[in-house]
């Protein structure tokens, strides 16, 4: 299992449209990708669940990746997060 933290710097937080792209990025892999924010968590492959977390600027999230391609997946997701948010 791979795990990393990420602090959102996008002033709008993780909102609808880029969240969709994030889901797209996560879906490219077999591994399960779970986002933990505060006391809630969501499957990163589900847009609505991800949006429901309402992740804001300055918030630190934890991403856990587990599965056959977890290394590649974690790397891709982390890169996407850094580039986008």
């Amino acid at each position: 299992m791979r795990e990393f933290n990420f602090t959102v710097s996008d002033p709008d937080g993780i909102h609808a449209r880029p969240a969709g792209l994030l889901v797209k990025a996560a879906k490219a892999f077999e591994s399960t990708v779970t986002v933990f924010a505060g006391d809630k968590n969501a499957d990163m492959k589900k847009l609505l669940a991800l949006m429901a977390l309402a992740i804001k600027q300055g918030q630190t999230i934890t991403v856990k990746v587990e599965g056959a391609d977890e290394d590649a997946a974690a790397e891709a997701v982390e890169k996407f997060l850094k580039d986008t948010f």
Binding site: D12, G13, H15, A16, R17, P18, G20, L21, V23, K24, K46, L47, L48, A49, M51, A52, A54, K56
Partner: protein, 646 residues
């Protein structure tokens, strides 16, 4: 141990600054939803500790208190009765929606909001009155029986005291105290005044006041400057609504400015006194003057066929203003001078046109609520009592009203040209056969006016018409407020809101059909001015160039996310569908300005329920496209997925 509802309600009231601090109260399946005047008076900490309260949060300008299914409605009722509040719901939402409309639409809407809750009363009375009057003419001697007197009394009660019913309903719509509203309504038909229906009769005036000149006397409060004509306002609607509207303004202003200690007696006293004076001194007389002008105008008009046609068109407006009760004077005059009442065919044409229009609405409407109002209302109109049809249906949707005016004019023209008339007065429509001199021509007249109105409405009116949309929703809300508030009623109200949404399928898959969440032109996703949406990255869907500013639920489902900035809503629906409605492009940058969400995460929604409103002007001003993006985000999971609405 079961929750003590009344204790819970009382404790909630105490920690939110009392009932005075509550602008409006409503509840959904689990939550008490309060709009609070002064949030600083709310002690969140204590509120969360109240037994029975499972959570508290603020959303959409509402203080939402989670209480739970099956208990929230009981706590709500206790809460209302403890604080002396009425069950008017969603006022804030309605008011906000109303503010963006032109004045005449707001006025029509107010009229509709006032009338919809009282329709059962006037439909019942209207139908009974039509039947009783017809029997009175048809069965010789029946009009002299006790049965007739009894039935006549029962059936005209709602009309004789219409100002009272209207005043109560208006007070609720305009946010005043309904009992003060009742006082104003009662005042306008007080027994100290001569019945408004009798002011045309010299004899009645003479016997009522003990005078000989047949003039309604006045009270001179300040010489000839402030005088009150001692005539009641039976059958009047507009002056009452205006008076009550004014009353609510006065009352609210006083509540704000009078020190709390003396508020309880100063405010109601001042409110009633001021309103009563203004209503009887200024508002009423303006309408009395209007009345006499209309009468004068009507007498001149009906002397030639063109004038008759004009009268046929204008007639329903005079019903709206409550002036039609005066026409008996004209009819009586005609019978006395030439022995033939040529007014009656005009009134009949106008009334039967209302019947035709209302019936067409009733048959064409998909919304069950509209249907069940329109059909009986049209029956009443066929018998000559048009108030239910006009106020409850045609006027609210407005286009049917215009159609009926046109048809009424044509019918009246035919009546004047074919020179038919009645030998008595008091009945129109179907019962008119009892008094008409030429039944064949009369039949043609009814067919022309009723038939033309029906056809016009059938081809011109659409259920989703702008006016209708607001009204249907308002109607549903109004009724929900009138009914005992329960979850059942709330659910019904939600379903009734269906009539407000245009049912237009835009996507379909094995999981079901999805309907356009907003009215407007549907465009293919590729034309959405944003590459992410256009490229289908977030799933397949459509764009809609909105023509209105309300987003409705495209199907039944559960709200899975509401963007804090109010511009996007996620819905989970049957078959694991994950829907995204995103209003505008880049609108997240507006930080919520111009958006107003009406649901919260976790809410179950019905297809057609209002989800959010947005301000197109604000979006344009901010420089973003206002296209509403509607996507099935997991469209890849459905083999049968198709975009159908483009």
């Amino acid at each position: 141990m079961a929750l003590d509802y009344s204790k819970c309600a009382r404790e909630i009231s105490e920690v939110i600054g009392g009932g005075k601090n509550v602008v409006s109260a409503a509840h959904c399946a689990t939550r008490l939803r309060l709009v609070i005047a002064d949030n600083s008076k709310v002690d969140r900490k204590k509120l969360e500790d109240v037994e029975g309260v499972k959570g508290v949060f603020e959303s959409n300008g509402q203080l939402q208190i989670i209480i739970g299914t099956g208990t929230v409605n009981k706590v709500y009722e206790e809460f209302l009765s403890f604080n002396g509040l009425t069950a008017a719901t969603k006022d804030d939402v309605k008011a906000a929606a109303a503010q963006r409309q032109p004045v005449w639409k707001q006025m029509l809407k107010a009229l509709g909001d006032v009338f919809v809750p009282i329709l059962p009363a006037i439909v019942a009375s209207g139908l009974m009155m039509g039947i009783v009057e017809a029997l009175g003419k048809a069965v010789p001697g029946f009009a002299q029986t006790d049965w007739y007197a009894f039935l006549d009394t029962v059936s005209n009660t709602a009309f004789a005291f219409l100002p009272v019913i209207v005043a109560i309903s208006a007070a609720r719509v305009f946010g005043g105290n309904i009992f003060l509203g009742a006082v104003i309504g009662l005042l306008m038909v007080h027994t100290a005044f001569i019945n408004g229906w009798s002011v045309g009769s010299t004899e009645t005036i003479n016997s009522f006041f003990g005078v000989t000149d047949g003039v309604v006397p006045k009270w001179h409060l300040i010489g000839d400057v402030v005088t009150i004509r001692r005539a009641g306002y039976q059958g009047h609607v507009i002056p009452v609504i205006i008076a009550v509207w004014l009353m609510c303004r006065i009352e609210k202003w006083l509540h704000k400015h009078v020190p709390e200690m003396i508020d309880l007696f100063v405010t109601p006293l001042t409110t009633v006194f001021t309103t009563a004076l203004l209503a009887l001194w200024i508002i009423g007389p303006i309408f009395a003057q209007l009345e006499s002008w209309v009468l004068l105008g009507a007498e001149i008009l009906v002397k030639n066929p063109i004038g008759a046609a004009v009268m046929g068109a204008v007639y329903p407006w005079t019903v709206v203003m409550g002036l039609h009760h005066m026409y008996n004077v004209i009819e009586a005059g005609m019978l006395a001078s030439v022995g033939l009442n040529t007014w009656m065919p005009i009134a009949s044409a106008a009334n039967f046109a209302q019947f035709g229009a209302c019936l067409a609405v009733g048959i064409k409407a998909h919304n069950n609520k509209t249907r069940v109002i329109a059909v009986p209302s049209s029956m009443s109109a066929a018998l000559g009592i048009t108030e239910p049809a006009i106020f409850g249906v045609n006027m609210r949707f407005f286009k049917p009203f215009i159609c009926a005016m046109i048809a009424g004019a044509v019918g009246a023209l035919f009546g004047a040209v074919s020179r038919i008339g009645a030998t008595a007065y008091g009945v129109t429509g179907i019962p008119g056969y009892l008094t008409i001199d030429k039944p064949l021509q009369y039949t043609i007249l009814l067919l022309i006016s009723g038939g033309l109105a029906f056809l016009l409405v059938w081809f011109i009116w659409k259920e989703g018409d702008a006016g209708a949309k607001q009204e249907a929703a308002a109607g549903a809300e109004g009724d929900a407020a009138a009914a005992p508030v329960s979850e059942v009623a709330a659910d019904a109200a939600e379903q009734d809101a269906l009539g407000a949404m245009e049912l237009r399928e835009v996507m379909t898959s094995e999981a079901g059909a999805l309907y356009a969440p907003v009215r407007g032109r549907v465009i293919p996703a590729e034309q959405i001015p944003d590459e992410t949406f256009a490229g289908g990255v977030l799933g397949q869907g459509v764009g809609i160039e909105p023509e209105e500013e309300t987003v409705y639920a495209p199907c039944d489902g559960t709200i899975s996310s509401v963007a804090e900035t109010g511009h996007a809503i996620g819905i989970s629906a049957a078959g694991d569908q994950e829907l995204l409605i995103h209003v505008g492009v880049d609108t997240v940058k507006m930080g919520g300005k111009g958006f107003r969400t009406l649901v919260a995460e976790g809410d179950a929604v019905k297809r057609g329920q209002k989800l959010l409103t947005f301000d197109r002007a604000a979006i344009r001003e901010a420089g973003y496209p206002d296209v509403v993006v509607f996507l099935l985000t997991n469209s890849d999971d459905y083999k049968g997925f198709k975009v159908t609405g483009v």
